[in-house]
Symmetry: C2
Amino acid sequence: MRLHLGLVHYPVYDKNGQRIASAVTPVDIHDLARIARTYGAGTFQIITPLRDQQELVDRIRTHWTAGFGASYNPHRREAVERVAIADSLEDGIRKIHAREGESPFVVATDARGQQENMLSFSDVHGLLREKRVVFLLFGTAWGLDRDVLQQADAVLEPIRGIDGYNHLPVRAAAAIILDRLVGVHP
Amino acid sequence: MRLHLGLVHYPVYDKNGQRIASAVTPVDIHDLARIARTYGAGTFQIITPLRDQQELVDRIRTHWTAGFGASYNPHRREAVERVAIADSLEDGIRKIHAREGESPFVVATDARGQQENMLSFSDVHGLLREKRVVFLLFGTAWGLDRDVLQQADAVLEPIRGIDGYNHLPVRAAAAIILDRLVGVHP
Protein backbone atom coordinates (compact mmCIF):
# COMPACT_ATOMS: atom_id res chain seq x y z
CA MET A 1 0.00 0.00 0.00
CA ARG A 2 1.19 3.48 -0.87
CA LEU A 3 -1.01 5.65 1.30
CA HIS A 4 0.01 8.93 2.94
CA LEU A 5 -2.00 11.11 5.31
CA GLY A 6 -2.00 14.89 5.61
CA LEU A 7 -3.55 17.02 8.36
CA VAL A 8 -4.11 20.50 6.93
CA HIS A 9 -3.79 23.52 9.26
CA TYR A 10 -3.85 26.06 6.44
CA PRO A 11 -6.02 26.93 4.64
CA VAL A 12 -9.00 25.86 6.76
CA TYR A 13 -12.19 27.57 7.90
CA ASP A 14 -12.96 28.97 11.32
CA LYS A 15 -16.41 28.89 12.91
CA ASN A 16 -17.49 31.91 10.84
CA GLY A 17 -16.28 30.62 7.48
CA GLN A 18 -13.12 32.76 7.44
CA ARG A 19 -9.86 31.32 6.13
CA ILE A 20 -7.36 30.75 8.94
CA ALA A 21 -4.23 28.85 9.92
CA SER A 22 -5.25 26.65 12.86
CA ALA A 23 -3.01 25.76 15.80
CA VAL A 24 -1.43 22.32 16.01
CA THR A 25 -3.23 20.09 18.54
CA PRO A 26 -0.85 17.54 20.10
CA VAL A 27 -3.60 14.94 20.64
CA ASP A 28 -4.38 15.02 16.91
CA ILE A 29 -0.75 14.28 16.10
CA HIS A 30 -0.58 11.37 18.54
CA ASP A 31 -3.90 9.89 17.47
CA LEU A 32 -3.43 10.21 13.72
CA ALA A 33 0.13 8.84 14.01
CA ARG A 34 -1.17 5.73 15.76
CA ILE A 35 -3.99 5.38 13.22
CA ALA A 36 -1.42 5.74 10.39
CA ARG A 37 0.73 3.03 11.99
CA THR A 38 -2.25 0.70 12.54
CA TYR A 39 -3.39 0.93 8.93
CA GLY A 40 0.00 1.10 7.24
CA ALA A 41 0.15 4.69 5.97
CA GLY A 42 3.75 5.50 5.00
CA THR A 43 3.86 9.06 6.28
CA PHE A 44 1.57 11.41 8.15
CA GLN A 45 2.25 15.04 7.25
CA ILE A 46 1.36 18.00 9.42
CA ILE A 47 0.71 20.78 6.91
CA THR A 48 1.27 24.29 8.25
CA PRO A 49 3.28 27.29 7.06
CA LEU A 50 3.76 28.61 10.62
CA ARG A 51 7.31 28.13 11.91
CA ASP A 52 6.40 28.05 15.59
CA GLN A 53 3.82 25.36 14.90
CA GLN A 54 6.33 23.36 12.89
CA GLU A 55 8.74 23.62 15.81
CA LEU A 56 6.07 22.29 18.17
CA VAL A 57 5.55 19.28 15.89
CA ASP A 58 9.28 18.75 15.75
CA ARG A 59 9.56 18.81 19.56
CA ILE A 60 6.77 16.23 19.89
CA ARG A 61 8.38 14.05 17.25
CA THR A 62 11.82 14.24 18.86
CA HIS A 63 10.47 13.51 22.33
CA TRP A 64 8.80 10.28 21.21
CA THR A 65 11.41 9.09 18.72
CA ALA A 66 14.71 10.07 20.34
CA GLY A 67 13.95 11.50 23.79
CA PHE A 68 12.62 10.02 27.01
CA GLY A 69 9.37 8.98 25.36
CA ALA A 70 11.10 6.60 22.94
CA SER A 71 12.10 4.24 25.72
CA TYR A 72 9.07 4.96 27.91
CA ASN A 73 6.60 4.00 25.17
CA PRO A 74 8.08 2.21 22.13
CA HIS A 75 4.63 1.67 20.57
CA ARG A 76 4.19 5.39 20.38
CA ARG A 77 7.66 5.77 18.86
CA GLU A 78 6.71 3.41 16.06
CA ALA A 79 3.70 5.60 15.37
CA VAL A 80 5.27 9.05 15.73
CA GLU A 81 8.17 8.08 13.46
CA ARG A 82 5.74 8.51 10.55
CA VAL A 83 5.12 12.17 11.34
CA ALA A 84 6.52 14.66 8.81
CA ILE A 85 6.14 18.42 8.32
CA ALA A 86 5.07 20.21 5.13
CA ASP A 87 4.81 23.96 4.51
CA SER A 88 1.86 23.59 2.17
CA LEU A 89 -0.13 21.04 0.20
CA GLU A 90 2.26 21.56 -2.74
CA ASP A 91 5.25 20.91 -0.50
CA GLY A 92 3.58 17.76 0.84
CA ILE A 93 2.90 16.48 -2.67
CA ARG A 94 6.55 17.12 -3.60
CA LYS A 95 7.74 15.14 -0.58
CA ILE A 96 5.54 12.17 -1.46
CA HIS A 97 6.72 12.32 -5.08
CA ALA A 98 10.34 12.26 -3.89
CA ARG A 99 9.65 9.18 -1.75
CA GLU A 100 7.37 7.19 -4.05
CA GLY A 101 8.73 8.22 -7.47
CA GLU A 102 5.37 9.46 -8.68
CA SER A 103 2.82 12.12 -7.87
CA PRO A 104 0.08 11.11 -5.46
CA PHE A 105 -3.61 11.05 -6.29
CA VAL A 106 -4.92 13.61 -3.78
CA VAL A 107 -8.16 12.75 -1.99
CA ALA A 108 -9.67 15.37 0.34
CA THR A 109 -12.12 14.45 3.10
CA ASP A 110 -15.04 16.71 3.91
CA ALA A 111 -17.93 16.17 6.29
CA ARG A 112 -20.22 18.44 4.29
CA GLY A 113 -20.32 16.24 1.21
CA GLN A 114 -20.05 18.06 -2.09
CA GLN A 115 -21.55 16.57 -5.21
CA GLU A 116 -18.79 17.04 -7.78
CA ASN A 117 -15.77 14.86 -8.12
CA MET A 118 -16.75 12.60 -5.24
CA LEU A 119 -15.37 9.10 -4.77
CA SER A 120 -16.89 6.36 -2.63
CA PHE A 121 -14.97 4.43 0.01
CA SER A 122 -14.99 1.51 -2.37
CA ASP A 123 -13.47 3.63 -5.19
CA VAL A 124 -10.55 4.73 -3.00
CA HIS A 125 -10.12 1.21 -1.65
CA GLY A 126 -9.75 0.16 -5.28
CA LEU A 127 -7.06 2.78 -5.95
CA LEU A 128 -5.09 1.51 -2.95
CA ARG A 129 -5.39 -2.09 -4.11
CA GLU A 130 -4.04 -1.05 -7.51
CA LYS A 131 -0.97 0.34 -5.66
CA ARG A 132 -1.73 3.91 -6.64
CA VAL A 133 0.01 6.51 -4.48
CA VAL A 134 -2.82 8.18 -2.53
CA PHE A 135 -2.53 11.31 -0.37
CA LEU A 136 -5.54 11.51 1.94
CA LEU A 137 -6.18 14.98 3.40
CA PHE A 138 -7.99 15.82 6.61
CA GLY A 139 -8.96 19.32 7.74
CA THR A 140 -8.69 20.88 11.17
CA ALA A 141 -10.91 23.60 12.73
CA TRP A 142 -14.16 23.90 10.72
CA GLY A 143 -12.84 21.99 7.70
CA LEU A 144 -10.76 22.27 4.54
CA ASP A 145 -10.90 25.51 2.57
CA ARG A 146 -12.70 25.27 -0.77
CA ASP A 147 -9.36 25.86 -2.53
CA VAL A 148 -8.00 22.61 -1.11
CA LEU A 149 -11.10 20.71 -2.23
CA GLN A 150 -10.61 22.15 -5.73
CA GLN A 151 -6.86 21.37 -5.79
CA ALA A 152 -7.56 17.75 -4.81
CA ASP A 153 -8.12 15.14 -7.51
CA ALA A 154 -11.26 13.95 -5.70
CA VAL A 155 -13.26 14.32 -2.51
CA LEU A 156 -14.16 11.26 -0.43
CA GLU A 157 -17.83 10.76 0.36
CA PRO A 158 -18.66 11.76 3.95
CA ILE A 159 -19.20 9.38 6.86
CA ARG A 160 -22.87 8.93 7.59
CA GLY A 161 -23.94 7.92 11.07
CA ILE A 162 -27.53 6.92 11.75
CA ASP A 163 -28.98 10.34 10.93
CA GLY A 164 -27.71 13.66 9.62
CA TYR A 165 -25.32 14.46 12.52
CA ASN A 166 -21.81 14.87 11.08
CA HIS A 167 -19.69 16.52 13.73
CA LEU A 168 -17.05 13.94 14.53
CA PRO A 169 -13.66 15.14 15.73
CA VAL A 170 -11.01 14.72 13.02
CA ARG A 171 -9.35 12.05 15.19
CA ALA A 172 -12.49 9.90 15.08
CA ALA A 173 -13.22 10.60 11.42
CA ALA A 174 -9.67 9.61 10.44
CA ALA A 175 -9.93 6.37 12.41
CA ILE A 176 -13.22 5.41 10.74
CA ILE A 177 -12.07 6.39 7.25
CA LEU A 178 -8.82 4.41 7.50
CA ASP A 179 -10.69 1.41 8.84
CA ARG A 180 -13.17 1.56 5.95
CA LEU A 181 -10.44 2.02 3.33
CA VAL A 182 -7.83 -0.38 4.64
CA GLY A 183 -9.15 -2.40 7.60
CA VAL A 184 -9.49 -6.17 7.42
CA HIS A 185 -13.19 -6.61 8.14
CA PRO A 186 -14.04 -10.00 9.50
CA MET B 1 -31.30 0.67 18.79
CA ARG B 2 -30.72 0.26 22.51
CA LEU B 3 -26.98 0.74 22.79
CA HIS B 4 -25.15 2.37 25.71
CA LEU B 5 -21.45 3.10 26.07
CA GLY B 6 -19.30 3.01 29.20
CA LEU B 7 -15.77 4.32 29.64
CA VAL B 8 -14.24 2.51 32.60
CA HIS B 9 -11.73 4.37 34.82
CA TYR B 10 -11.72 1.71 37.56
CA PRO B 11 -10.65 -1.04 37.61
CA VAL B 12 -8.11 -0.72 34.79
CA TYR B 13 -4.43 -1.60 34.44
CA ASP B 14 -1.49 0.75 34.51
CA LYS B 15 1.65 0.29 32.40
CA ASN B 16 2.97 -2.30 34.87
CA GLY B 17 -0.20 -4.38 35.09
CA GLN B 18 -1.27 -2.96 38.45
CA ARG B 19 -4.94 -2.22 39.12
CA ILE B 20 -5.60 1.53 39.25
CA ALA B 21 -8.29 4.20 38.97
CA SER B 22 -7.30 6.34 35.98
CA ALA B 23 -7.88 10.08 35.70
CA VAL B 24 -10.69 11.40 33.52
CA THR B 25 -9.39 12.80 30.20
CA PRO B 26 -11.61 15.61 28.88
CA VAL B 27 -10.80 14.85 25.23
CA ASP B 28 -12.05 11.28 25.71
CA ILE B 29 -15.36 12.59 27.04
CA HIS B 30 -15.82 15.01 24.15
CA ASP B 31 -14.83 12.49 21.49
CA LEU B 32 -16.83 9.55 22.79
CA ALA B 33 -19.87 11.78 23.32
CA ARG B 34 -19.74 12.87 19.69
CA ILE B 35 -19.21 9.27 18.56
CA ALA B 36 -22.19 8.19 20.71
CA ARG B 37 -24.33 10.92 19.14
CA THR B 38 -23.23 10.03 15.61
CA TYR B 39 -24.08 6.35 16.00
CA GLY B 40 -27.18 6.71 18.18
CA ALA B 41 -26.01 5.38 21.55
CA GLY B 42 -28.55 6.39 24.21
CA THR B 43 -26.12 7.20 27.00
CA PHE B 44 -22.37 7.36 27.46
CA GLN B 45 -21.37 6.63 31.05
CA ILE B 46 -18.13 7.72 32.66
CA ILE B 47 -17.44 5.00 35.22
CA THR B 48 -15.33 6.11 38.18
CA PRO B 49 -15.72 5.88 41.96
CA LEU B 50 -13.62 9.02 42.54
CA ARG B 51 -15.70 12.02 43.59
CA ASP B 52 -13.32 14.67 42.28
CA GLN B 53 -13.27 12.97 38.89
CA GLN B 54 -17.07 12.77 38.86
CA GLU B 55 -17.16 16.49 39.63
CA LEU B 56 -14.85 17.20 36.70
CA VAL B 57 -17.20 15.27 34.39
CA ASP B 58 -20.14 17.18 35.81
CA ARG B 59 -18.44 20.53 35.16
CA ILE B 60 -17.69 19.59 31.56
CA ARG B 61 -21.26 18.39 31.07
CA THR B 62 -22.76 21.54 32.56
CA HIS B 63 -20.51 23.84 30.54
CA TRP B 64 -21.60 22.31 27.23
CA THR B 65 -25.25 21.67 28.05
CA ALA B 66 -26.23 24.70 30.14
CA GLY B 67 -23.27 27.08 30.24
CA PHE B 68 -21.55 29.24 27.65
CA GLY B 69 -20.64 26.22 25.54
CA ALA B 70 -24.29 25.32 24.89
CA SER B 71 -24.88 28.42 22.79
CA TYR B 72 -21.31 28.59 21.45
CA ASN B 73 -21.44 25.06 20.02
CA PRO B 74 -24.91 23.44 19.87
CA HIS B 75 -23.54 20.36 18.06
CA ARG B 76 -21.37 19.64 21.03
CA ARG B 77 -24.32 20.14 23.39
CA GLU B 78 -26.30 17.48 21.52
CA ALA B 79 -23.38 15.12 22.04
CA VAL B 80 -22.46 15.93 25.65
CA GLU B 81 -26.12 15.62 26.75
CA ARG B 82 -25.64 11.86 26.54
CA VAL B 83 -22.87 11.86 29.16
CA ALA B 84 -23.77 10.23 32.50
CA ILE B 85 -21.76 9.27 35.57
CA ALA B 86 -21.64 5.85 37.26
CA ASP B 87 -19.79 4.84 40.43
CA SER B 88 -19.09 1.34 39.18
CA LEU B 89 -20.01 -1.15 36.47
CA GLU B 90 -22.84 -2.43 38.70
CA ASP B 91 -24.15 1.12 39.14
CA GLY B 92 -24.00 1.67 35.40
CA ILE B 93 -25.93 -1.55 34.72
CA ARG B 94 -28.59 -0.48 37.25
CA LYS B 95 -28.98 2.88 35.52
CA ILE B 96 -29.44 1.27 32.13
CA HIS B 97 -31.95 -1.20 33.60
CA ALA B 98 -33.92 1.73 35.07
CA ARG B 99 -34.01 3.45 31.69
CA GLU B 100 -34.60 0.49 29.39
CA GLY B 101 -36.68 -1.77 31.63
CA GLU B 102 -34.28 -4.68 31.30
CA SER B 103 -30.70 -5.58 32.11
CA PRO B 104 -28.17 -4.89 29.40
CA PHE B 105 -26.05 -7.53 27.72
CA VAL B 106 -22.57 -6.35 28.70
CA VAL B 107 -19.88 -6.46 26.00
CA ALA B 108 -16.31 -5.53 26.99
CA THR B 109 -13.75 -4.41 24.42
CA ASP B 110 -10.13 -5.49 24.72
CA ALA B 111 -7.23 -4.93 22.34
CA ARG B 112 -5.44 -8.04 23.57
CA GLY B 113 -8.03 -10.50 22.29
CA GLN B 114 -8.87 -13.34 24.69
CA GLN B 115 -10.17 -16.62 23.34
CA GLU B 116 -13.09 -17.37 25.65
CA ASN B 117 -16.50 -15.87 25.35
CA MET B 118 -15.60 -13.73 22.37
CA LEU B 119 -18.16 -12.29 19.98
CA SER B 120 -17.49 -11.04 16.47
CA PHE B 121 -18.56 -7.61 15.20
CA SER B 122 -21.25 -9.37 13.24
CA ASP B 123 -22.57 -11.14 16.39
CA VAL B 124 -22.95 -7.86 18.28
CA HIS B 125 -24.42 -6.15 15.21
CA GLY B 126 -27.03 -8.94 15.29
CA LEU B 127 -27.85 -8.32 18.97
CA LEU B 128 -28.40 -4.62 18.22
CA ARG B 129 -30.67 -5.44 15.28
CA GLU B 130 -32.73 -7.70 17.55
CA LYS B 131 -33.22 -4.63 19.83
CA ARG B 132 -31.30 -6.19 22.69
CA VAL B 133 -30.06 -3.68 25.25
CA VAL B 134 -26.26 -3.68 24.87
CA PHE B 135 -23.75 -2.00 27.21
CA LEU B 136 -20.43 -1.64 25.39
CA LEU B 137 -17.44 -1.06 27.70
CA PHE B 138 -14.16 0.62 26.83
CA GLY B 139 -11.10 0.73 29.07
CA THR B 140 -8.79 3.64 29.79
CA ALA B 141 -5.05 3.53 30.67
CA TRP B 142 -3.63 0.07 29.75
CA GLY B 143 -7.03 -1.59 29.44
CA LEU B 144 -9.87 -3.20 31.38
CA ASP B 145 -9.04 -5.23 34.47
CA ARG B 146 -9.53 -8.97 34.10
CA ASP B 147 -12.40 -8.76 36.61
CA VAL B 148 -14.37 -6.54 34.23
CA LEU B 149 -13.76 -8.94 31.35
CA GLN B 150 -15.07 -11.77 33.54
CA GLN B 151 -18.11 -9.79 34.73
CA ALA B 152 -19.05 -8.99 31.14
CA ASP B 153 -21.36 -11.33 29.23
CA ALA B 154 -18.94 -11.34 26.30
CA VAL B 155 -15.77 -9.74 24.94
CA LEU B 156 -15.74 -8.17 21.47
CA GLU B 157 -13.08 -9.40 19.07
CA PRO B 158 -10.20 -6.89 18.75
CA ILE B 159 -9.66 -4.50 15.86
CA ARG B 160 -6.99 -5.79 13.52
CA GLY B 161 -5.05 -3.33 11.39
CA ILE B 162 -2.78 -4.54 8.64
CA ASP B 163 -0.36 -6.30 10.98
CA GLY B 164 -0.13 -7.03 14.68
CA TYR B 165 0.04 -3.41 15.92
CA ASN B 166 -2.89 -2.83 18.28
CA HIS B 167 -2.19 0.39 20.15
CA LEU B 168 -4.99 2.68 19.09
CA PRO B 169 -6.13 5.38 21.50
CA VAL B 170 -9.51 4.52 23.05
CA ARG B 171 -11.02 7.48 21.14
CA ALA B 172 -10.02 5.93 17.81
CA ALA B 173 -10.94 2.39 18.83
CA ALA B 174 -14.40 3.52 19.94
CA ALA B 175 -14.97 5.36 16.65
CA ILE B 176 -14.00 2.29 14.59
CA ILE B 177 -16.00 -0.15 16.73
CA LEU B 178 -19.17 1.96 16.59
CA ASP B 179 -18.80 2.38 12.84
CA ARG B 180 -18.40 -1.38 12.39
CA LEU B 181 -21.35 -2.20 14.66
CA VAL B 182 -23.79 0.51 13.62
CA GLY B 183 -22.49 2.50 10.65
CA VAL B 184 -24.28 2.48 7.33
CA HIS B 185 -21.58 1.18 5.01
CA PRO B 186 -22.12 2.14 1.42
